[in-house]
Subunit: 283 residues, 6 copies
Amino acid sequence: MLEKNTRPFIGCEAGYKEASAVIFGAGFDSTCSYRPGARFGPSTIRNESFGIETYSPYLDKDLSDIKVFDALDPELPMGSTEKALKIIGKYAKKVFDDGKMPIMLGGEHLVSLAAIKEAYSKYPDLRIVHFDAHIDFRDEYLGVKLSHSAVMRRAYELLGEGKIYQFGIRSGDRSEFEAAKGKTFTYLFDLKGVEKLKEMIGNAPVYFTVDLDVLDSSVFPGTGTPEAGGVSFNELLVATKEVRKLNVIGADVVELAPMLDQSGVSTATACKYLRELLLTIVK
Amino acid sequence: MLEKNTRPFIGCEAGYKEASAVIFGAGFDSTCSYRPGARFGPSTIRNESFGIETYSPYLDKDLSDIKVFDALDPELPMGSTEKALKIIGKYAKKVFDDGKMPIMLGGEHLVSLAAIKEAYSKYPDLRIVHFDAHIDFRDEYLGVKLSHSAVMRRAYELLGEGKIYQFGIRSGDRSEFEAAKGKTFTYLFDLKGVEKLKEMIGNAPVYFTVDLDVLDSSVFPGTGTPEAGGVSFNELLVATKEVRKLNVIGADVVELAPMLDQSGVSTATACKYLRELLLTIVK
Amino acid sequence: MLEKNTRPFIGCEAGYKEASAVIFGAGFDSTCSYRPGARFGPSTIRNESFGIETYSPYLDKDLSDIKVFDALDPELPMGSTEKALKIIGKYAKKVFDDGKMPIMLGGEHLVSLAAIKEAYSKYPDLRIVHFDAHIDFRDEYLGVKLSHSAVMRRAYELLGEGKIYQFGIRSGDRSEFEAAKGKTFTYLFDLKGVEKLKEMIGNAPVYFTVDLDVLDSSVFPGTGTPEAGGVSFNELLVATKEVRKLNVIGADVVELAPMLDQSGVSTATACKYLRELLLTIVK
Amino acid sequence: MLEKNTRPFIGCEAGYKEASAVIFGAGFDSTCSYRPGARFGPSTIRNESFGIETYSPYLDKDLSDIKVFDALDPELPMGSTEKALKIIGKYAKKVFDDGKMPIMLGGEHLVSLAAIKEAYSKYPDLRIVHFDAHIDFRDEYLGVKLSHSAVMRRAYELLGEGKIYQFGIRSGDRSEFEAAKGKTFTYLFDLKGVEKLKEMIGNAPVYFTVDLDVLDSSVFPGTGTPEAGGVSFNELLVATKEVRKLNVIGADVVELAPMLDQSGVSTATACKYLRELLLTIVK
Amino acid sequence: MLEKNTRPFIGCEAGYKEASAVIFGAGFDSTCSYRPGARFGPSTIRNESFGIETYSPYLDKDLSDIKVFDALDPELPMGSTEKALKIIGKYAKKVFDDGKMPIMLGGEHLVSLAAIKEAYSKYPDLRIVHFDAHIDFRDEYLGVKLSHSAVMRRAYELLGEGKIYQFGIRSGDRSEFEAAKGKTFTYLFDLKGVEKLKEMIGNAPVYFTVDLDVLDSSVFPGTGTPEAGGVSFNELLVATKEVRKLNVIGADVVELAPMLDQSGVSTATACKYLRELLLTIVK
Amino acid sequence: MLEKNTRPFIGCEAGYKEASAVIFGAGFDSTCSYRPGARFGPSTIRNESFGIETYSPYLDKDLSDIKVFDALDPELPMGSTEKALKIIGKYAKKVFDDGKMPIMLGGEHLVSLAAIKEAYSKYPDLRIVHFDAHIDFRDEYLGVKLSHSAVMRRAYELLGEGKIYQFGIRSGDRSEFEAAKGKTFTYLFDLKGVEKLKEMIGNAPVYFTVDLDVLDSSVFPGTGTPEAGGVSFNELLVATKEVRKLNVIGADVVELAPMLDQSGVSTATACKYLRELLLTIVK
């Protein structure tokens, strides 16, 4: 009765070996240029997950139907971006190497880069499906190349042209939009166009990265740079179901900043979305 | 100038005798399994009601056109569920016995059970129209039968099959959905279908219970278990107008949790909805 | 490197002389009947503006394409309404006199009256386009004529019949709606009808006043009297583009109350709207 | 059971006629130069008072031992300082005229002026005992004479030299300190010196005004201009007992600003202090 | 690297068998009469504990010097007081039976009763040392015997006269103080007198229960019923060192309510106190 | 009237040339291991400074009596510690080179290192007087040398033994305390001992660094790692006056984290302390 003391994300109680997917946190946020706090995203999602159910009436499916292990979070050296990405990369690599699907919880969006690098080294034909309010295509910021607003630029440099599909984009520097032209597929404002992805991508391996600020700022206020004019939760769910048709080999959900979520409503939304994502893409 | 010291919900200044409807609070929240605080719902709604107007441009009607008495709130013994329900039941019974319509303010959803019991004992053919994000059809929770997530199960046991009409439902255990099948009419996700109620129910007496978390969590963050993917305020208003066609004999509005409503926006929304509800169903 | 110490709204770094538009704050809120704090609107919008970009993907235009000077905020004597309005009026007058467009940041809605008076004295055929949740057409409140809920009544008395076009209105006393009949054009609930303005107004000079509570309370919780049932951010953007077709000679954006915006999401929305408004109406 | 709907400050349930003291609110805050919100002080103190007990172990006395009527709060026209003070003055006058002691709840400190005027017109030899962090001795602010930072200057002009005794003062303009010299007794930083009051004042009538920001800002954060370096709650209690030795004919407690009191701890402290004050000075 | 997923209170990483003390949570709060939320105390203390160090400069001792197991928290049926206490009691009993010291984290104060019962059944000569702002000696509340304000009355009925030593008491009904007279040792207002305990109690077994609201409300705002006029953190530390001289066989720390602790300062204080308590009383 | 748009810290309106001291912000916080947000310290202190007065009754001195220029804040690349420190260092160097005293506003404590380096290169006999709750003497954290908890270790490596005087220290790893022994003068828990500094240091140049968490967490909750058991505001003022006797050549005030300061009370305290510090040490 008293001897065990683990507390994973609700319904993710499989052992590591039997699991087909592995949740882990990448609670890093040092490069945020505006409001920090995404470092607390993973632990808060986990701690508050007992406020939701394991069952989805949207999918008529329960987390007990799949096998997910929650590895909790590595400690990360704040302020030391390269070291932090290295540690995150190791986690992602191990999960890939063990033939499982990583589901990473951010942290700021830059953490995706560490997982994408590992995914790319295993799947050289990798594509990225990217839901976000921000185009994240800066070249640098005050001379710094590794920044949350540069993550897709860095990913593009790795993967090459025509491999990144962006949806919901409604913010960024003019130079970012200009730079992305011809290099990525960028769909502005909403998630329309997701239904064409299967035709465009076919069975190529896909890393699916969801910056939760793609949601309207009314739906998801608890994030560093909330953006009005975004999609509803139901639109996000519908688009996520489209992504299920692709060959998703890894995913992440980033940019919940609990210190900015006084009512807890963004955390509850992140928990619910993580449940739906797991039930949608984990086999 | 100084001798009177009452402060009711705005525009509800009728005396008890002349009133056709009676507001009272049921500020109980001991069985919430997640975030408590709904106990402060009734007093906060009343205190903040002077921030809204008595007039509805939606209905072109004013609270001064109807007669409502606000009875404030009985003191309730927290942690002692049966005693609390008994006290609430007494209030509801007196209002029914005096030929008036009770409009109860929660509190957690379990408080509806006390009013429903009294309604049922007066109107044996009672129906329940239930707006909620949660199906509330647990059999028990850790061995406890009286819980806010079991309220519709208990109501079903009282009224029998086919008497409960649920709308907006988007959360619950798998076992709850399975148990409700064939016993209740359960409409998922939104309020569509409300317009068929008149045909289904005719003139049978109806108790109308509104868990405010049926609203999208962006619209109503200040509640214990907010649920993304819900309806808009305007959708709720339109559906409420449909309910007016039924023979409503009592109603409640539950689950505002002011401690989780730092911006006050959920309280303002609850106040506005209560005004619209009163203007819609009180004759 | 160290000698200059200005911090204007992002991208509004023109000198006064070269600027075609001038931002200034009117941080007054003494007549609010409910929750105060709009006095901090201008400074908070300015301080938090560095959280957004200067580029609009909606308009494919950047603040560096136009010339705006940010004059910061005059100190205003709280509690002394007439003196405060006089100071605000002086600011507006100087901007008009110098042939520039004032873009005033409230503060409560009454501050618009000071700018409208100056606009009217320069443009006797002035029209007002008014986006708001509230009709703001009280005659007086406890004997007081100058109040944020009376601002359009006072403006009507100045301009005469048929000069004020109101949109999004969903709240007010019955007496206000009755009084406005035949005197203003009042469109209830949403912004539909804006597209007819060009036909109705032609090239007459227009003062455009935006009370941000026209937005749904989920989109804009940080305001004194949030009102459920309002428009979305995208609907506001679309309607603002319609206003561009008119001959706008001045504008304001009022009623952000930062003390009620714990998550910062309303401030971010106000900043983004101000950017879009500037890019839309400043030539 | 249902017919009565009053909710006064806890334990203040006497009828008006039998009461020897009368609580009423003066929820005005329009002249605050910094953070507003004190308008909600009276209603919040009343609403939250049921979180404390009626019994004081400090005095071994219970509110049931005295007779106090709670008259709730007059509606006040925000932004119209003179009208608001007039209404407050009428309340105070009636209480004085009926031979009872007014205990007024602010509101900003300027509201004291209305009560002091009435006290002075009844008791021409009036003294003021003033606990505050701020000296409140401005001549004017932006040309305005009626301001919360000028209240003691205005009182001095009424009563004359040597009638005001200030304690705990630790903030103000240099000009205020210079102006007060020789006109008031001003004790800096703490409440030491209160024990000499009896000797100085004897049996002259005393109006006792307590600005709660005399407390250290750690003890009382929920106020418009919190000031570090103040007194502890126990020091305030001890000093208040000294005041009991004087001939107190009226009192007020001002400057709780509930919007700035997210934890509720300042409100709880204000409630407790009001209980202690009532038990100390009401006969 | 990935296979383990526990997260105990910082520094409490011993296995159950080797541990001499066992932390577990009793996150129950259904009987709170005022503001609930203490249910989240245990999980929040654990989650936020990584914000403090394992080393105490006060004691020059580190948590790595002792062996503590953190058993996390049993699920408890809210609203069902007797069942919840039974589950808590089972936890306490097992720890006692295994010859270890339980350190329980509340939750509301009533949870202490479950542990005290088990302690008493093992140690019939049990004494209670009780730090609290509230005397907690009600007989009943609205007919309910099991309530957080009755916990010491119930404990007295179990243990008999002269076994309970209360410190810091400054709040309660008059009837509670009268009832406690002659039955308990009740020290008002502060922790003076603790140094006499060794002489009074000698080597008798002691259960040490700390309601954190014994701290001044400035030091510990995040609790259901904060009380001004309490002790400082350093005074609490000094008194706790005195308790170390006694034969402490179990302890608890109760009444942190994280929902009321927006700044996180009460949680940080609770974590630090728990570290100091462990280093003080665990051998 | 409109052409100038600067808004410095209150009363710091001198031009750069005439100023004897220069305020600038170092809003960097990327290496915080726990709660971030100190990046907003400088701008928030400046924006809220108009809530205090320019006059100090403690010192009977006004900011108009001295000449201070407020240079606002350089933009800093978050996540790139070395680059950020380099930019900060350039600011400090210019101020030193121009013969003025820098008063830097943090940001996290690591920013002090940049200023200390410049001070040391100008004044090789430099001493550091350090007020803090934390000893900040880590060697590294997860392999990272530049961290806010290592700042004094790095400073020691620069300056050598016996040059750092620490006060108020009450938190840190055991290894930090052990490492500091014999290398620094470390006074635990409070600021006693400051009065011996003049004798110990004489006229050697002193850099004075104040981590505001030296204050008790009740006095200063708005900081990343608040620590109970600290000093009062008055104790800090008294100790600061002692420091005036030394030859202070530069100073900083760090670790205000406005996102954690919902009531604004820590910001108000930081503003007041900055005023007192300026009036104390600027000639």
